[in-house]
């Protein structure tokens, strides 16, 4: 395990991550992982994260070394798409039993590798470590090495057992495995000045294919996509690419940065969600490739293509303007991290409510993204009653959010659209944004909402749960208004930091008692924002308010 903990320390120390670079030495050591709260945690484990990141490699056999839960409960459940092999959708697991736990599972693992090679002969096998074999001391590195020598085939250990941390850590450990064992181990058949790596893109719902034709048209070759619709050989020889684009936030930033370090492949962080972001990304790709030696005329062709695609997309979206007039969207997402989704929705004439969204500086954008992320986090704890009230108060006509809130929103009889991982539609690129607007239209104007909101024949009007919920909420609000002590209690009980479970009152008291003026000070005193850090903006707001309030008092 010592090499695994060294790897974990290494991925925590990520200079490419702005958030991390701003932390103190001690903070960095603690890592960027959210403290897991027993009985209050949600989300996958490090093994889940590693598998999510690598499983879209289509021609690889992904072998899970562990008891049946790790693969049996979860296989073939990702929406990534393949243009070739379907081997990645085959579930392989050692399904270890009690005897293996007592005597060790290494022999079974080795035999499993042999069986897979004999039956399926894949270009490579990825072996995923899980908690139980990690505990009993199965050395998968050694087994993989022995198998590699015996069968003369890449057998790659992915050391990311679930209990080392959450999903995002697993993403990074998966990246480390690629860097250590795969990338740079083979040579491409040929190279061109237009060779691009795309890192951190999983081709969910086949959405990469909404962008690929544009790259094809420009003559840009996706040398390797890590990992959506990727192939082993492409990744193994991806060190010969000229430039890289890093998608999907920071999930695989370690791969992008270390490839820059080791092979001199420059990268940028971009997105194909939204029209502006798509254009920006295409421009950046062209610019980087030209810088690395591609002819300068690539930029002219790129600009022409952007102009054509943008015009087409805006024209398609403009058609919806009259239908969307006066319609309000409640957008809650930490998932699709793209400002320009917001821009596209606004362009289609939708009004965004619930989050203060106006076009302004880059910092504002960041701030809004973080706010949305925080709300997305919060919404998982919301009861449908509260959600219904929120929709009602915001007077929203539709809610866009991640999958977790789906059933609650739908039970509140509210139009809802999934814009996170589990979605069935592909929203990437120019056509993707048009598709999103189409889907919103479909959801908004579906007559089913009028039907499902009708009272049952035995219900007295105004006696359904919705009106009861609203009445209850109003009664509670009225009771609070009449009882300032209680109201203050409720106000102070508002949770600001979800990771560390810190309430507003605690933060306010700490600020007053210690005369704090910085987020760091609050963090040291209360632990708030010591987790994912997304609530830092809220703490800043609290600080601002309290400072101005104390000034006001001083002025009196």
């Amino acid at each position: 395990m010592s090499s695994l903990s060294a790897t974990i320390q290494d991925v925590f120390n990520e200079p490419g991550c702005g958030k991390n670079a701003n932390k103190s030495e001690a903070e960095r050591k603690k890592g960027c992982t959210k403290q897991l709260q027993p009985g209050g945690a949600a989300g996958g484990c490090a093994f889940d994260g590693a598998k999510i990141a690598l499983q879209p490699l289509t021609d690889v056999a992904h072998l899970v070394h562990g008891p049946i839960a790790c693969e049996g409960n979860s296989w073939d459940n990702r929406g990534a798409k393949s243009s070739g092999s379907n081997l990645w959708r085959t579930g392989f697991t050692t399904d270890i039993n009690e005897t293996d736990v007592v005597f060790g599972g290494e022999k079974r693992l080795f035999k499993s590798i042999r069986e897979i090679i004999e039956k399926y002969d894949p270009p490579a096998i990825f072996v995923y470590q899980t908690c139980v074999p990690a505990m009993i001391g199965d050395d998968i590195d050694a087994v993989c090495k022995a198998a590699r020598e015996k069968f003369n085939k890449p057998v790659i250990p992915i050391n990311s057992p679930g209990f080392v941390g959450p999903k995002n850590l697993g993403n990074k450990l998966a990246g480390e495995a690629l860097l250590q064992h795969v990338i740079g181990t083979e040579e491409p058949e040929y190279t061109t000045p237009y060779d691009l790596n795309i890192i951190g893109e999983y081709n969910l719902s086949g959405e990469l294919w909404q962008v690929k034709p544009l790259l094809d048209e420009l003559g840009i070759r996706i040398m390797a996509c890590i990992s959506g619709d990727g192939k082993y050989k492409e990744v193994a020889s991806s060190h010969r690419a000229k430039a890289a684009m890093m998608v999907c936030s920071k999930a695989m930033i370690n791969v992008a940065r270390k490839m820059e370090e080791r092979y001199g492949i420059p990268f940028f962080e971009g997105s194909f969600y939204g029209i502006e972001d798509s254009s920006d990304s295409l421009r950046e790709i062209a610019r980087m490739l030209i810088e690395r030696g591609a002819p300068a005329e690539l930029m002219d062709r790129t600009e022409a293509l952007i102009a054509r695609e943008e015009a087409k997309a805006w024209a398609a979206i403009a058609k919806y303007k009259p239908r969307f007039e006066g319609k309000k969207v409640l957008l809650i997402t930490g998932g699709v991290k793209s400002w320009s989704v917001v821009a596209a929705l606004q362009e289609a004439g939708l009004e965004l409510v619930g989050t203060s969204v106006k076009k302004s500086t880059k910092e504002d954008k960041e701030r809004i993204k973080e706010l949305m992320g925080q709300d997305a986090h919060m919404i998982e704890d919301m009861t449908p009653r509260e959600m219904y009230k929120m929709l009602k108060d915001a007077r929203a006509d539709i809610m866009l959010s991640g999958g977790r809130s789906q059933f609650i929103a739908l039970k509140a009889s509210m139009p809802w659209l999934d814009i996170n991982q589990e979605r069935h539609h592909a929203y990437m690129g120019y056509v993707g944004m048009v598709k999103l607007v189409e889907e919103i239209d479909k959801a908004l104007y579906n007559p089913v909402w009028a039907q499902v909101r009708k009272p049952a024949p035995w219900e007295k009007s105004g006696d359904n749960w919705q009106s009861r919920a609203m009445a209850q909420a109003e009664a509670e609000a009225a009771a609070l208004a009449a009882d300032p002590v209680k109201a203050e209690e409720v106000r102070r009980a508002k949770k600001i930091c979800n990771c560390k479970s810190v309430e507003l009152g605690v933060i306010e008291d700490a600020i007053l008692a210690n005369n704090l003026s910085t987020v760091e000070g609050v963090r040291d005193a209360t632990n708030a924002s010591g987790g994912c850090g997304a609530c830092a903006v809220r703490i800043e707001e609290i600080l601002e308010q309290m400072v101005s309030a104390s000034h006001a008092i001083a002025a009196e």
């Binding site: 008891p67 839960a69 459940n77 042999r114 749960w465």
Partner: protein
């Protein structure tokens, strides 16, 4: 009749099996105000949660003790304590059900001891019902986790009646296996009530995962059998257990409370439901209502109409033992041959199955055997979709998970009506397959092959 063999492969390919802790967690989900809690790393819970969410299309209550590497090695007392207190404070459950996992069983956490200590140290949860079941992932399967959990609930929560005089002959306990859907439970409830009897289901997934919109929302289960109701099950006149997996729980009930039980290994098909009707008539003293006499006639008619399509079919079924028994039985009674039977775990029903061999294996085995034996109908859960499409044979989804179709929670199998509709669904699938893929052409008989339906003819 059948020999049971266990696959000799080192590597399981395309698992049919799911783990026992989530089988246990699902059993707890049939209790009202419940929060199932897996004692393991957070992935143990999140995989199960995603699986159930995709199957039932509902929000699923399920928590984790979020064991880290260090906590796993040192022991999980603090994690269990924190989890119980957090759940208690945040969701105010009526009961917390804890299942262990592979990680915590490898270490050997004494969770029963932990619970005792937690109660002593925290007055708030001193009397909160907390049930613990040992369900290591590296043993047994989903169905076993369900079985152990229901048995444990009976052992710990049902109270023995103070005197036999307190027994109420109209009250009936129903212990359904995990192969029954919420739709099945609702059908059974109606049938039992139509005999003037009052059933209590343990667990009652129809109350919690049937998709209804509750009056008030809680983060725990939104319905199901209540803690109080469970404690009073000892006063019932009879226990009806469904599926061989429920024998242990029924025996535990009898041993603890003296309530006699009748085990129905099957409730899908004509004879099985005749037996149920006869039993309900006997214990209620009422004749079978007209409604069921008519439904029986409809089932007989459906069997007559359906046997043209189902008769002679070469069947490959992959399912947990009790579901395999139900579906293999029904279709065999309609003239199909159960040529391939793959299951997940040991059970006494396996050797009685109408087939030569039952294999405890995976969906790769099911696919290969179906191909070798020319099967032309496959029945298993949604994960069979890849195999069926490679073999190009009609595929009927049954069991958990059913994530790529709607209505898994309401698929009906029990009662005359359940069997009738299932026969229609099977027949329609086979008719559509015939129209799409096997219509005769002028040439199709010449080479002596004919428009075969089997896997290898493509």
């Amino acid at each position: 009749m059948a020999t049971v063999t266990v696959s000799k492969k080192a590597c399981s390919v395309n698992p049919l099996k799911m783990s026992q802790p989530i089988g246990g967690a699902l059993a707890f989900m049939g209790l009202r105000g419940a929060m199932p809690l897996l004692h393991g790393s957070q992935g143990c819970t999140s995989f199960g949660l995603v699986l159930f969410t995709r199957h039932f299309k509902e929000a699923i209550p399920m928590q984790t003790t979020a064991m880290s590497e260090v906590a796993t090695v040192l022991g999980g007392y603090e994690n269990v304590e924190q989890a119980v207190l957090n759940i208690y404070n945040r969701t105010k459950p009526e009961i917390i059900g804890i299942c262990s996992t592979g990680v915590t069983e490898t270490k050997g956490d004494d969770v029963d001891g932990y619970i005792k200590l937690i109660r002593e140290k925290n007055a708030a949860v001193a009397h909160l019902p907390i049930v613990y079941v040992s369900t290591p992932d590296f043993k047994d399967a989903f169905q076993d986790g369900w079985e152990k959990t229901v048995t444990r609930i009976v052992e710990t929560m049902v109270e023995a009646p103070k005197s036999a005089a307190r027994r109420d002959p109209t009250k009936i306990n129903v212990l359904p296996g995990c192969h029954l859907t919420p739709g099945d439970l609702d059908e059974l409830r109606t049938i039992i009530e139509d005999f003037g009897l009052e059933p209590t289901f343990l667990p009652d997934l129809a109350g919690s995962l049937d998709g209804h919109i509750p009056d008030d929302f809680t983060p725990t289960t939104i319905g199901g059998v209540g803690v109080e109701e469970i404690s009073m099950m000892g006063q019932a006149g009879w226990t009806i257990a469904i599926g061989a997996q429920m024998r242990r729980a029924a025996e535990a009930m009898q041993q603890k409370t003296g309530v006699p039980f009748r085990l129905f290994e099957r409730l899908c098909g004509l004879e099985a439901n005749d037996a149920l009707m006869a039993f309900l008539t006997e214990i209620s003293g009422r004749p079978a209502p007209m409604k069921y006499r008519r439904q029986r006639g409809q089932l007989v008619d459906a069997m007559l109409d359906g046997h043209f399509h189902i008769g002679g079919r070469k069947l490959a079924v992959g399912a947990e033992p009790d579901l395999l028994n139900e579906i293999g039985g029904l279709l065999t009674e309609m003239g199909a041959q159960l040529l391939v039977a793959v299951t997940t775990t040991q059970s006494p029903v396996l050797e009685r199955l109408p087939t030569e061999e039952v294999l405890i294996g995976d969906l790769e085995d099911l696919e290969n055997l179906a191909k070798a034996k020319d099967c032309d109908l496959m029945v298993t859960h949604s994960h069979g979709r890849q195999a069926a499409s490679r073999l190009k044979i009609p595929f009927f989804r049954m069991g958990i998970p059913m994530f790529d179709r709607l209505g898994g929670g309401h698929q009906l199998m029990v009662g005359y009506r359940g069997a009738r509709d299932l026969i229609f669904d099977f027949s329609n699938l086979l008719m559509a397959d015939h129209e799409d893929n096997h219509e005769p052409t002028p040439d199709s008989w010449r080479d002596g092959v004919g428009p075969s339906h089997a896997a290898t003819s493509h």
